[in-house]
Amino acid sequence: MEGLLEDPAQDIKRLQRCINDLISLLALPAMWSSDQPSQIVHILLDALLRMLSLDFTYARLKDCVAIVPIEILRIADSCKLKVTPQEIGGMVSNWFEGDGQKPLPSMRDRFRDKEFSRLPVPLGVHGEIGMIVAGSGRADFPRQTESLLLSVAANQASTAMREARLLSEQKRIANELDQRVAERASALGQANEELRKEIDERKKIEERLRESEAALQRAFNEIKKSEAKLRQVIDTIPTLAWCNLPDGPNEFLNKGWHEYTGLSPEESHGWGWQVAFHPEDLPPLMKRWQELLVSGEPGEIEARLRHYDGVYRWFLIRAEPLRDDAGKIVRWYGTSTDIEDRKRAEEALKASEREFGLIINTIPAMAWSARPDGYAEFFNQHYLAYVGLPLEQLQGSGWTVAVHPDDLDAVAGTWQSIMASGKPGEGEARLRRFDGEYRWFLFRANPMLDESGNILKWYGTNTDIDDRKRAEEQLWRSEAFLAAGQNLSRIGSFSWKAATDEITWSEQLYRIYQFEIGVPVTLELIRTRVHREDLTLLEKMIEQARNGRNDFEWQYRLMMPDQSIKYLHAVAHATRDQDGQLQYIAAVQDVTARRMSEEALGKARSELAKVARVTSLGVLTASIAHEINQPLSGIITNAGTCLRMLSADPPNVEGARETARRTIRDGNRASDVITRLRTLYSKKDPQPELMDLNEAAQEVTSLSLSELQRNRVILRQEFAEDLPPVRGDRIQLQQVMLNLLRNASDAMSAVDDRPRELVIRTERDDGDRVRLSVKDAGVGFPPQASDKLFEAFYTTKTDGMGIGLSISRSIIEAHHGRLWATPNDGPGATFSFAIPCRLEGWASGGTGVNRSDPATNAA
């Protein structure tokens, strides 16, 4: 420590300065205007630094708030110390650890190559505020006065800081308080607000409550009104209504009830109403009433109620329970409805139903009824008896079991469409009889409608149409056959009403005429087709028809659009139709093909005849050669003989004369043969001419004589003398005769035990015909082969072609004749042909042949 008396003037200055400093220090608080401790410290440290000419001043504050103490460091400008507060802090840290009771010593140590003296000064009584450290490089630091100054400064500072703290505390508290108040105020405000809102709500609710109360009141009034109305209604409705208590007795009866029964409310209240019921009906009524009370279920019963005038009428009593929310019955409500009329009507209905049922089961028809939806309800007795099934089995759709399986779908479909259309309808199907047999029935259904046209029920009958159906089927079949037959045979048919000219054609006739099927047919139309040349014939026919001729047959031609010609053959028959009108039924056949083939056949036949002639010519060639060679040979031989005779010595003149005579005779013979042959085998075409059959036969026999003789056939000719001339082809007929002769001769070629007799005979045959027969005594033939003989290629000869007889037959048939064979009584057979004297209808134009009128003869 420095001594006080070193320099009294300096000391006085120092003390003055010290007092000044003290005064300054004491004036410091005026500068500490804020409440920030750090600012106070800053000012303090600056002041100290100046005042004491320190090198640095450091302060450390224990802030109540912050965990890290505040450290402030002021370094004098003259001191070139670069140091942080923290470093200073670190230096003096050990000081802080004390409790601050003891005064802290100063220290001097080196720091950054300089020696410093540091004096810590606590802030606060016990250093609770912090600490100040003054540092100086002066060696005499700190002097007493400096320490004193420091302490005073520290005290000042502490006080100021304490005050500041207090102030800040105060402020803080005040702030807090303010805040709290503010919060509280706002909270209060909010609560206030809410309260206000609640109050508003309440007010509104109250408002509404008032309103609903008013409404309720109004409603109540309304109810009261409608109750009154209801009462009025209940009393007005024309039904008897009542209300009973849950245990049974009556509470209320409406006006109608009273008026009807004539009982007063007092009389009928409770159980009094019972007297109004018919004594017979009361027990069951009561029993039922008890049942309802017990069961709690709605119910009804019929009973007679007495009118005030004593007459009982039937009523339907209906009761319904009224339950509360808990389900307990609080009341029974009911109506009693006058059903007397209905009951009467019901009985009448029952009676009429019985009667109806009787009728429906008696009428001789099968009847049924069904609901609008098709559910079958009723089948009468006949129906049940027919199908042999009970009603229950048929109801609904059970009746279908009796329908034939093949018809079932159709019937069901028809029934559906009838029901859908709502109109009467019918269908056909087979129904099975009790014995299993199916018969055809016609089902007819009729709807029964109410006034608005709705269907109440379907009624129907089934009619047995089995016979008709079978007849229909047969008819259909026969019509089909007819049509097919007509088509096949190219026959069409037509009917013609003479009076009205109404003409009906079959399909085939349309085809024949080549008109479109179905086109109405008139005489005009027909005329367009008939061949020009046959038109007059047609007119003649029509006229005769109108005049009532019975039967027609005629042939005519059509000229088709393509210019081809059709030959038609028509047969008509007059009948009377249902109305008694004259009607012609006719069949028309297209004979074009036949005519063509006939012509072709005719041509072929003559060709064949030619061929046959040629063939038999070949066969005959041998015999021709034979025929001629014989006389030739005779000639030559005789001539030779003649020469020799004349050359003899002496000449045999007589003999020569004889041979010459023979020569001439033989020459004639040969010539004869040739002539005959020429006649027979001339190349002329067959021409029908009037000829004498005997003559022709004679020629043939003459020609065949030698051959027959060679075969030892004895020929006998029996020609009728009065044989009329026939029209025919001479050559062809002679061909036939030749064939027959040859056959007869061949048939006897093996006969030795009897004469080979051949008889050729001509005679008149009945019906204006001429017959020629060739009878032999040959091998004959079995009777059943009589037709087979004439078949082509049938022959018993080993070298025969078998065409002779078939050609012969066709020749004869072309002459409109007949060729046949019969076995003889004795051995052999007789071949005969008969041809008409005159031939008819050969012309290819239209010639009418009237069968019923022999006087008419068209040729």
Binding site: H626, S633, G634, I636, T641, R710
Partner: protein, 143 residues
Amino acid sequence: MDALYGVEHYFVMEFHQRSIATERPLLSVVDDDESVRESLPDLLREFGFAARAFSSAEEFLASDSVGQTKCLILDVAMPGMTGLDLQQELRRRGQRVPVIFITALKDEAIREQALQQGAVSFLYKPFSDTALLEALNAAVQVN
């Protein structure tokens, strides 16, 4: 003709010489044709033969000429027994008679058959008398 006559004459003379002691040789003609039966025997007689005519093979067989005939002139086509049948019959009987066939029908098969069965000749009508004479010579040669 003269030359021919000469040849014929020679043959006839031969026959005469041979048969001076005997009658003329018998020739039989069998034909169903009348003109043949008329004309042929005369010609044969002119040749210097005796001739008999028959209308059928059966007639011939039934006659006594069967053994006597030196040569048979035979038609083929006849009713009943034909010429060929007769030929066969004679062979069956062992009658060795030369046969000359005459016929109007030209049938090769029959001709063949006839020749095979030993016929001397087969002539077609009409035939010349010379042809017949040649055939007769052939028949005689055989004899």
